[in-house]
Structure formats: C-alpha cells, structure tokens
Symmetry: C2
Subunit: 107 residues, 2 copies
DNA sequence: ATTGACTATATCCGTTGCGGATATATATTG
DNA sequence: CAATATATATCCGCAACGGATATAGTCAAT
C-alpha cells in the first residue's frame, strides 16, 4: 500500500539519510552525525528535517525500523528499494557533477 | 545592501540555473531547456520555480539582467558572485558524489 | 553535589521554495 | 486556420526545511 517508486531527484535530505544508512543500521542522532561527516560539514541537518524525512521515507518504503535491542534507541535500516534508489540518485548526481565540472573547465 | 554571501548548499533549482547561465546569457525559456539538457532530462523545472528562483537570485546578487536587444526577451547573466558560487557548489557536489560512490563500491 | 556539555528522541510550527495551473501573445508548421 | 512550440509571467496550494523547544539520561569536572 502506497509504495509507488519515489521520484528522482531525491531531496538532498533524503539522499543524505539514505547514504548515512548504507551498510549499517543507525539511530537518529547517529544519522545526523554521519550526514555531517559525509558532507564534510557542509550539511547541517536539524531534528525537524531528520524525523520529518524519516517518516516520509518509511511511508515511501525507503527505510524501515531495525532491530531495537536498546528500547531507548530507534534504529533505521535501508530497504531493498532504499538501496536501489540510493544507487540511482548517486549515479544521477555524479553525472550532473561531471557535466558541471566539464562546463567549468575541470574535466 | 542585502548581498550577504549565499549559503551552501544551494537549492538544486538555483544550482541548475547558475549552471545553465555559465558562459552565456540566456532568457527564461532557454534556461528551462538548458536545465533539462544538463540534467539528462531528470530535472523538469516549471515556470514557477524558474522565475521565483531568478527573483531570489537577483536579490542575492547571483545573476543580473543582461543586454536586451529584443524587448520581448529578458536575458539573465551570471555575476562574479554567481560564478564563484557555482564553482564552490560544483566542488561541494562533486565531493559528496565521490563519497557516495566510494560508499557504494564504485570508486 | 551540581553545573555544563553531550547524547538522544521527538514535536511544533513559521517560513521557504517548489511546481502545477493558468493567462497571454507571437511564431511556426501542417 | 488550427495546433504546436516559443516565450514571459503570476498565483497559490502544498511539501519540505529547519530552528526552537521539551525531555531525559550520561559523563566529566570543579
């Protein structure tokens, strides 16, 4: 119910959350730290953006709740759809970045 | 007055408009076509996004009105600030894309 | 002991920005 | 001469962003 393939381009927030979750379950605060690290400190994601996005991503079937050993932490993990979507968006982004670099004269 | 350096990350719309204007003055409709081409058809920018963004970008000093030979067309061009901002955002995007590709196992 | 900093989850809500619908007009093509 | 493409522009609902805020546990320091 209600899992029509998510439209590309993804929003930057959704992309960064997917990237942070690749290969590892993480809880909310951990995602924030990872996004910061992945972006080289350029993206600062607040709790509003994080939890709002996570809700929408669960709704869209991109992520799911993981195993919660610790009742105080809520873990999130990528679904198969989340992984393929992340790959597609990464490819798209890489192509756009390449076009831009060529245009600017750094092939 | 009111030209404090624009914050990175740029919105995708602003980035694509800057990219479309690099090296060439263009009018609105032309920008739309160029964005479509640059993004390999993945980004469809409607008039609302285009003109709304252009207004904000003029306000922010990223673009300026160009020479209008034709009174029916309004040309836009990059300012110096627009060019440096485009370079900075392109670099940032390239880095993020690289991190993502490494993570996904396509270095 | 208690202050402060950090970890951690979560909601609320004002603002921004996106983007489709719409209007208008000219040029071009069948 | 009707339809399609070019071209500019506004309006406005809606989704998303992101800061403020609330709550609470941990840990180090003084």
């Amino acid at each position: 119910m209600s899992k029509p393939k998510p439209p590309l381009p993804l929003t930057p927030a959704v992309f960064h959350i997917l990237l942070a979750l690749f290969g590892k379950e993480r809880h909310g605060y951990d995602i924030m730290q990872q996004v910061k690290a992945d972006s080289g400190d350029t993206v600062k994601m607040g709790p509003g953006t994080l939890y709002g996005s996570l809700d929408r991503m669960i709704e869209a079937g991109l992520v799911a709740r993981g195993n919660m050993q610790d009742p105080r932490r809520i873990y999130y993990r990528l679904t198969a759809l989340g992984q393929t979507t992340l790959r597609a968006e990464t490819d798209r982004l890489s192509r756009v970045a390449l076009v831009a670099r060529r245009q600017l004269g750094r092939a």
